[in-house]
């Protein structure tokens, strides 16, 4: 029973049933720095993650 968060080349496994906001916090990812996409659609941070979910996290920071 697992849901996955993928940010660039890193994968984080989290427990299904938790909200995306909690999964990000548990994985030490700053929510303001990413956009979460599931099956091509953006999801908000209150979304409850399901078993087998693969959430692509798009990093938003750019610039030098």
């Amino acid at each position: 029973m697992v849901a996955k968060l993928i940010l660039r080349d890193k994968e984080y496994e989290v427990r299904p049933g938790m909200a995306l906001a909690d999964a990000l916090k548990k994985s030490n990812i700053v929510p303001e720095s990413v956009i979460a996409v599931r099956d091509g659609e953006l999801i908000t941070d209150d979304e409850i993650l399901k078993n087998g979910d693969v959430i692509k996290l798009v990093a938003v920071i750019s610039g030098g």
Partner: protein, 311 residues
């Protein structure tokens, strides 16, 4: 969480505005807000010709997309910087920009720094010994110089860049940490045109970087996702990350930081005197653009130095 406008499932939640929207209404909201900012800060009118500086990134391509949607006459300018670093960075950025322009039937000007000045940005940086081993300072200087030159040479009324609120807040944060009063005085959504300097505007300056990423994804804009290879570990990224930590704990902190700065500056309540004179500017004898340095402008001195070393 549901969309405030239609009650469908929301795609984005903007905590600083206490606003959640579905995809359809978000893609309406961003251009509506952009139009509001253009009007509020008196950036430009519908009969003016706009040159949009496009890099192939999410912000500049989204800006171009929004301006066209709003019915403005906006052409693009892409500067080929010659950054490769094993990932074809500039080549890929240019390809994505050209594809965007072609698919939306838009006019794109391409200026290649190496063709214009004989060497790409990393080589100019190395030979000019500027920037402590990183080409970012040289890149910034060259971009400002070239964007201004092209905007004036081609007769555009205004130059628009894709700076978002995170870009502006990071610059403000850095300048505040250093109390760089002259830079603080110059920062704003509009830099008025003066003799030799094109008017510069930042129509996205009140949107978070996260919001622009969402706009690009929802609009199907293909942008360069890879970071510039030289940006790794940069100060501006460190400031943005720090501000995002703050924003997570205090939603709206970045927005308030920037907007209250603009308000304080406008009202004269900032620690600075309102009418401090800017440094005396005179035309550079080589390129004609205004400069505060005694002889040639910094850009021309840098190019001359690198060309003399080459020769």
């Amino acid at each position: 969480m549901n969309c405030r406008r239609c009650d469908r499932k929301a795609s984005i939640h903007m905590r600083q505005h206490k606003l959640a929207l579905c995809k359809e209404h978000y893609l309406e909201w961003i251009p509506e807000q952009t139009a509001r900012f253009i009007k509020k800060y008196e950036m430009f009118a519908h009969d003016e010709k706009i040159l949009v500086a496009v890099s192939g990134g999410k912000d500049s391509l989204s800006l171009w997309h929004i301006l066209i949607k709003l019915g403005y006459q906006a052409d693009g300018l892409y500067l080929g910087l010659g950054i490769d670093e094993g990932i074809n960075y500039s080549h890929e950025s240019q390809r994505l920009t050209e594809e965007f322009a072609a698919s939306h039937n838009l006019k794109l000007h391409i200026v290649d720094i190496e063709k214009e000045y004989g060497q790409p940005i990393p080589v100019i940086a190395e030979r000019s010994h500027r920037g402590h081993g990183k080409p970012c300072a040289v890149c910034g200087l060259a971009k400002r110089h070239e964007m201004n030159r092209i905007a004036r040479d081609l007769g555009y009324d205004v130059l628009a860049t894709g700076h978002n609120l995170d870009d502006e807040a990071a610059v403000l944060f850095g300048n505040t940490l250093n109390w760089s009063s002259e830079y603080l005085l110059r920062q704003g959504p509009v830099l008025p045109g003066t003799a030799g300097l094109a008017r510069k505007v930042k129509p996205l300056c009140r949107f978070y970087e996260r919001e622009m990423t969402a706009y690009a994804i929802m609009s199907g804009i293909e942008y360069i996702y890879e970071e510039c290879p030289f940006a790794d570990g940069s100060q501006s990224i460190f400031y943005k990350e720090s501000l995002n930590q703050l924003e997570t704990a205090r939603p709206g902190a970045k927005l308030i930081f920037y907007l209250n700065f603009l308000e304080a500056k406008k009202s004269g309540k900032l620690f600075l005197e309102k009418n401090v004179e800017l440094a005396n500017l005179h035309p550079c004898p080589r390129c004609g653009q205004p400069t505060s340095t005694p002889d040639q402008c910094s850009f021309c001195r840098m190019i001359e130095k690198t060309q003399s070393e080459t020769g």
